[in-house]
Symmetry: none
């Protein structure tokens, strides 16, 4: 894998961390480009490159003549999930840890939500960590004809840890690419399993996100139900109109 992280990435990671820790809360200005360049012994261009990523992620905004500021966000883990690619790229800064390996099960409710004829589905349970801290437990259900492509994937074995997403693992094997993800977001109490995986008390209010991925023909390909710890995670989405 990667041996040396680029300098601009090292810097953007550090800034991301500091912002997440709340160091620049309350409208506090971030260090200037010149300051960061001097302190980290890199060029101003490299600092700018790091800031460009942070701006694209929406975690800072910049004002000529004034400086750079963190967007207000309670210091939670902030992730822009405004496109299907965003969902797939969740892997770039989080780790997936399999709690219960992918295997066939009978699940009437999941099968019905996937609009299947049978009650047979494959499911896998995993949690995701950011900076070593678990923040979400997800259960994924797959129709049999899709699950068979990844049933032997080492990434989905018990206890496996990797930087993947299910949808990213699936995509190469699908005849028809995923084009739609319908999501519903609500609040639900943590079950014993959710509590154990995310380190909170049973009954703790969680952000519950249900996603149904479908292909261009409208066939359901994956159902995912996630319980996010609200203390460590905020769901973000940007709506646009007028062609962008």
């Amino acid at each position: 894998m990667n041996v040396t992280e680029p300098a601009h990435r090292i810097l953007s990671n550090e800034l991301r961390r500091r912002i997440a820790e709340g160091e620049y809360r309350g409208g506090l200005r971030l260090p200037t480009e010149a300051e960061l360049a001097g302190r980290h012994d890199v060029s101003r261009q490299t600092v700018r490159r790091a800031f460009q990523d942070l701006v694209a992620e929406g975690i800072v905004y910049r004002v000529p003549g004034r400086g750079t500021f963190a967007t207000e966000s309670d210091g939670r883990y902030l992730r822009q999930l405004g496109s299907i690619e965003d969902l797939m790229n969740l892997s770039t800064d989080t780790t997936m840890e399999v709690v219960s390996a992918l295997r066939r099960r009978v699940d009437v409710e999941a099968a019905s939500r996937l609009r299947l004829e049978t009650d047979l589905v494959d499911s896998v349970v995993f949690r995701r960590l950011h900076d070593g801290v678990p923040f979400v437990l997800t259960t994924v259900w797959l129709p049999e004809h899709i699950a068979r492509h990844v049933r032997d994937a080492p990434e989905l074995a018990d206890g496996a840890a990797s930087a993947h997403t299910i949808i990213g693992l699936l995509e190469p094997h699908l005849e028809s690419p995923i084009t739609e993800a319908a999501q519903s977001i609500t609040v639900a109490a943590a079950s014993a399993e959710v509590a154990a995986a995310t380190g909170c008390e049973p009954g703790h209010p969680m952000l519950r996100v249900d996603r149904l991925y479908s292909d261009a023909q409208g066939r359901a390909a994956e159902l995912a139900v996630s319980y996010f710890l609200p203390e460590h995670y905020t769901y973000r989405v940007t709506l646009r109109r007028g062609g962008h």
Copy 2:
């Protein structure tokens, strides 16, 4: 008033247009950095800057040694999800009931999130009902220069009930239309005020949605914080990509 567009933006706009027209469909490679630099008589760095935006938007992906390709072998990208229109049309089957009329206040946090110079903002608090049942309490903050257009609107007086949205009331008065709504969604306990307005116990877990509306120039126009009763409301959004 208007300044000349930066070279990298002119280039990225042209590429966006061409990609949307399907010129690079079917895995066709886009021109190389060197080609574009020569053809447009700009430096390679400027071409790279243009590509960085397209990559951040998820419109293209790049592979070292191979080239740049449009995402979606099959067409243009639709980053459109739930729409701002959906938010504005919330009024069709719900009623807005003003709890606390629009008036000027000092609010450091809201002003900072609206990126204002002063601490002076206008705010209004209202709840929304569906079939006579309250399901959400919303506080809206407006910059002074925007609030003055609606300060005397009867819809925002104390106790007023109507089938409107704030953004719908504002839109006709704005120089520049709202084009973006950045939302963060999390869980929060009901305050006494929220509990009273929605008929639940204080401390009850609520779905908290923060929306920051901005115009095409990126200027913040409205900040709204809503507390939804999860028993009566689920947030839905659909992400799509790839037309036809």
